[in-house]
């Protein structure tokens, strides 16, 4: 046996409610984060990630209540991201019961946050989320850059180098999203995933583009990802986490079943 490759369902939470239409047929309340997290736990999810997309600052405290409620009823690791700007935000999320906190845009504008946070709470709690897009032309060597604002704003940072810098500052894990692929369901950007995963010493979670179970297998075997994150294929009931794991095992990948 060996360390298992992880499957991580990702849920968008807005003002304390799960959004983006989770469609479990027999669930009483498809917007209830606790109920959905429990379901994914029962299906064998290895972790759960919540992305807080609450826009209004008046309602930002709702995420803490969600984390408290989920952490007291689901006993697998819980990562929370979205809107994390200060060490204090991280501390509050961890105190509420999160196991890891994901820092995205704030890491780009204030890399020192990653250093300060990892020193305060330990690298094992700090995930740096990287949104990358391919910037090389058709005949050039592949190259990807970090983008912010949902993939609209380039930053000029090379994705692989940026990931390495984040690890030097104390990131314990990298959540890598291909902005070219996100929402397309055509599979992960495998060259990007592989370049980052082979470029850093910490685990890399692949995200963006999953449309079927073979994509998960490709992410691990070709992309060298340590974990795969997906939203829609699980939310819409196309596949259960258990089916995904069985498929991965059938393709020679160690999973927790």
């Amino acid at each position: 046996m060996a360390l298992a490759k992880r499957i991580i369902p990702c849920l968008d939470v807005d003002q304390g409610r799960v959004v983006k239409g989770v469609k479990f047929v027999d669930i009483r309340d498809a917007g209830d984060p606790v109920e959905i997290a429990k379901r994914y736990n029962d299906e064998g999810a290895d972790e759960i990630t919540f992305l807080d997309i609450t826009a209004s600052s008046d309602n930002r405290d709702t995420i803490y209540k969600v984390v408290e409620a989920v952490a007291s009823s689901v006993f697998i690791p819980l990562t929370v991201g979205g809107g994390v700007r200060e060490v204090e935000d991280i501390h509050r999320l961890l105190n509420a019961g999160a196991d890891k906190v994901s820092i995205n845009t704030a890491a780009v504008f204030n890399p020192e946050l990653v250093s300060a946070a990892s020193q305060r709470v330990g690298s094992q709690c700090i995930v740096v989320a990287i949104d990358a897009k391919q910037v090389s032309g058709p005949d050039e060597p592949l190259r990807w850059e970090i983008f912010t604002h949902g993939g609209r704003k380039p930053t000029g940072h090379d994705a692989v180098q940026w990931a390495q810098q984040m690890v030097e500052r104390g990131a314990g894990e990298i959540l890598l999203t291909s902005m070219d692929r996100d929402g397309t369901r055509v599979g992960f950007n495998l060259p990007l995933t592989r370049a980052v995963s082979e470029g850093v010493s910490v685990p890399v979670i692949a995200s963006g583009g999953v449309g079927n179970l073979q994509h998960l297998v490709d992410g691990v075997l070709e992309g060298k990802a340590d974990a795969v994150l997906a939203a829609s294929i699980f939310h819409f009931g196309e596949y259960t986490v258990g089916q995904a794991k069985q498929y991965m095992r059938d393709h020679g990948i160690t999973v927790r079943l």
Binding site: M1, L3, A71, S73, F75, G172, P203
Partner: protein, 213 residues
């Protein structure tokens, strides 16, 4: 029968998860609480000793209030569960933070995975995620947990007790290392049972039933 279960809270990492998980598996009359008060710890029936972060910080926090001495005392006479860093500091010495003297409850060292770099060959550090634990000896805390069940790990250092017979669980990550050790009333485990779903909750539940022998 109600019992008091004390989780030692000395400011090292997220003890909330440990509290949540014990509350989920304990009987309605059980009292599960966080404390760093020596008197409350002494009065408890069971001691849970968690910990996250770096060994140096951890030992500094324990020594600050002489909690290390209280822990050493409690470790002699009650069912005692060490988790993650709460396991590592029971050893004699950790290589972390340029060398940290630990509680030396169990002679032996705590080493970084990278010290075995040739065996690691591309494995990521920290060892983060679900890995299987081979039950190398029978123990009441393994009750109803299938051998080789997977548990959730997050760590860069591992324990190497001088007495190999202390090891009751073993995990492979580049090398085979001690994932769980036990002696008398102490059981200590490297992974996080509080985050290890069914298998982890079963282990915590077993601890609440264990008479410490």
């Amino acid at each position: 029968m109600s019992q008091q279960v004390a989780i030692v809270d000395y400011g090292m990492g997220n003890v909330r998860s440990v509290l949540n998980a014990f509350q989920a598996v304990s009987a309605p009359n059980d009292q599960v609480f966080l404390s760093n008060d020596p008197e409350r710890l002494r009065a408890a029936d069971r001691i849970v000793f968690p910990g996250q972060g770096a060994a140096g910080d951890c030992m500094a926090a324990l020594r600050q209030d002489e909690l290390d001495q209280v822990i050493a005392e409690l470790a002699t006479n009650k069912p005692f569960l060490g988790i993650c860093m709460g396991m590592q500091v029971l050893l004699g010495h950790s290589d972390e933070n340029n060398g940290t003297t630990c509680m030396n409850y169990f002679p032996g060292g705590v080493h970084h995975f990278v010290d075995n770099a040739e065996q690691l060959s591309g494995l990521k550090i920290p060892h983060m995620g679900w890995n299987s634990v081979a039950q190398t000896s029978t123990h009441p805390l393994w009750h109803n947990i299938p051998d080789h069940s997977m548990f959730y790990f997050v760590h860069s250092y591992y324990v190497a007790p001088e007495q190999p017979e202390l090891t009751v669980g073993e995990t492979s990550y580049g090398i085979d290392f001690t994932a769980a050790l036990a002696a008398d009333n102490i059981f200590a485990i490297q992974c996080h049972p509080e985050k290890s779903s069914t298998a982890g909750l079963q282990l915590l539940s077993n601890f609440l039933e264990w008479d410490g022998s």
